[in-house]
Amino acid sequence: MEFWSTILLSATIASIAATGLFLQIRNGQMNVGMGVFVGIGGYVSGLLSTRGGMSPAVSIPVALIAGFLAGALYAALTLRLHHWFFAVTTLSLTIAAVAVVSQISFIGGALGMTDIPFVTSAPAIIAAATAIFALTWALDRSATGLRIRAMGDDQELAEVFGVRVKRLRIAIFGLGSAMAALSGALNAHRFGTAQPGDLAFQPSLLLFVYVIVGGKNSVWGSVLGTFFLYCAPEIIKIAPEAELLVFGALMLIVSVWMPNGIAGGLQSVLRFVRRRG
């Protein structure tokens, strides 16, 4: 029971970042370096609550703002880039970020920070995830959500129809990064650590896989994908390499046969059942 509640809470925290990544991918910004923004959240909140003497109740929101600013800055720098190029820059970003963070001895260098106060409780995690999910769901259904979708489909066309592409790209990427930072901060205060590895390519790739396999076309998809891919390996207990191999195969399957992922698959099954019934 203890074991499963830990796993499920970890999945809940990861789903916060996955929801943010869902927004960014929907926006047309293929971010394969989300770990950087998760890491920023953990480090900022950790630093402020240990070296800065702030209460975590203040430092976590500050970390959220820091995540937003970092994301907005990055989006502003990469305004002109689409899909591929954006993906390549984020890939390069995670590798560079890990190198930089592990060089700064003030924040613990390669070992990271290990004295962050433990404050994250299960209700706080669930409340945060629910709030983030509700916010994203509402945003996705609003007029802005339609603009985001239009922009993700075809940026030039969206611009022709009066979508303020630049502003939206910066704002939504910032918002997604803020969610990632929140998940990083919650994790840092849960385990008491923030490490350079949090920013690395591996966790970023995992988040990307969660969203894509879950389904990049609905808010449910990213959450579903996170919980499914987080918990399934714990049930069948396989080596991490085998786990990643299976995830790779899932990506391949999703890209060819199920472009809308698990959520899309479930939706079409539901539609089929309803038509029959």
Binding site: H83, A87, V88, S92, A96, L245, A249, I253, S255
Partner: protein
């Protein structure tokens, strides 16, 4: 000291150029990035390791590596890239991105499962140093630079001087028009893909040869350098890819000498962002009719 560092950078850029050229050719002809491209190098290197440990002669090992790499590459093309060609617009770009990332994960982790998640000694290596006019250079890196230069020259001749090269350029420019002119574009794409896979395979083996070690996850860092070299030089241009690789190699060597080897990828990232900000189409702007 500075010259020595620059020399190291130039020497290591040969492999980057091989990877970058593969990325840029696939992008030019199919309009997609093959994120599993650098993994073909890992596949070739591990095929050689397997064949040698199975007691085969070096020449047989090389043959086996060729066959294995080509089979893997054609499977990746068939499974991850061809389905996307049915679509138009953004789906045609996104699907192969996701599919080839998946294929790369499969290849890396299959290698890690079979050979263990650690660096493995490559059976052939040329790690000795030679002295050229007061500077030290690793033999393996010299061999890899020369081999890359020869291959790239051959490739440039293939693309610009032969009938098949003309077909490739026609498909890259406009696939439908090329089809109307009687070019079998699927065949051109398949052969191009096989050529790039061979280049990646050779690059992977050159890495093993010059550093003496290969690891299942090495492809990620080479993929980044190849991709960045491609973007920096100008997407779709072969000379651009080579120029980009030289620049990346030089910047990397300078970063290592100034800030330590931990920072090598930071320099690469800074160059990428600077080029994208100042000259987004790359250093060698590709004319529209190329």
């Amino acid at each position: 000291m500075l010259t020595q560092q620059l020399l190291n950078g130039v020497l290591s850029s040969g492999v980057y150029a091989l990877y970058a050229v593969g990325f840029t050719m696939i992008f030019g002809i199919m309009g997609v990035l093959n994120m599993a491209h650098a993994d073909f190098g890992t596949v070739a290197a591990f095929a050689i390791i397997w064949a040698v440990s199975a007691g085969l002669a070096p020449i047989e090992a090389v043959l086996i590596a060729c066959v294995v790499t080509l089979v893997v590459a054609l499977l990746v093309e068939r499974l991850a890239l061809r389905p996307g060609r049915r679509f138009k617009g953004d789906a045609a770009i996104e699907m192969p991105l996701i599919g080839t990332i998946g294929a790369g994960m499969i290849l890396q982790n299959a290698a890690a499962l079979i050979f263990g998640n650690k660096a493995i000694v490559f059976p052939f290596n040329l790690r000795a140093f030679v002295r050229i006019g007061g500077f030290l250079a690793s033999k393996g890196l010299i061999v890899s630079l020369v081999a890359s230069a020869v291959l790239l020259a051959l490739l440039e001749i293939l693309v610009t001087r032969t009938g098949f090269g003309r077909q490739m350029r026609a498909v890259a420019q406009n696939r439908d028009a090329a089809e109307i002119m009687g070019i079998n574009s699927e065949r051109v794409i398949l052969i191009t893909f096989a050529i790039t896979a061979a280049l990646a395979g050779i690059a992977g083996c050159l890495v093993g040869l010059s550093y003496g070690l290969v690891s299942p996850y090495m492809a990620v860092s080479y993929a980044i350098k190849g991709l960045v070299a491609m973007i920096v030089g100008g997407v779709g241009s072969l000379p651009g890819a080579v120029l980009g690789a030289l620049l990346i190699g030089g910047v990397e060597a300078l970063t290592v000498s100034q800030f330590g080897s931990q920072m090598r990828d930071v320099g690469v990232f800074v160059v990428l962002m600077a080029v994208l900000a100042i000259r987004p189409s790359g250093l060698l702007r590709v004319p529209a009719n190329r």
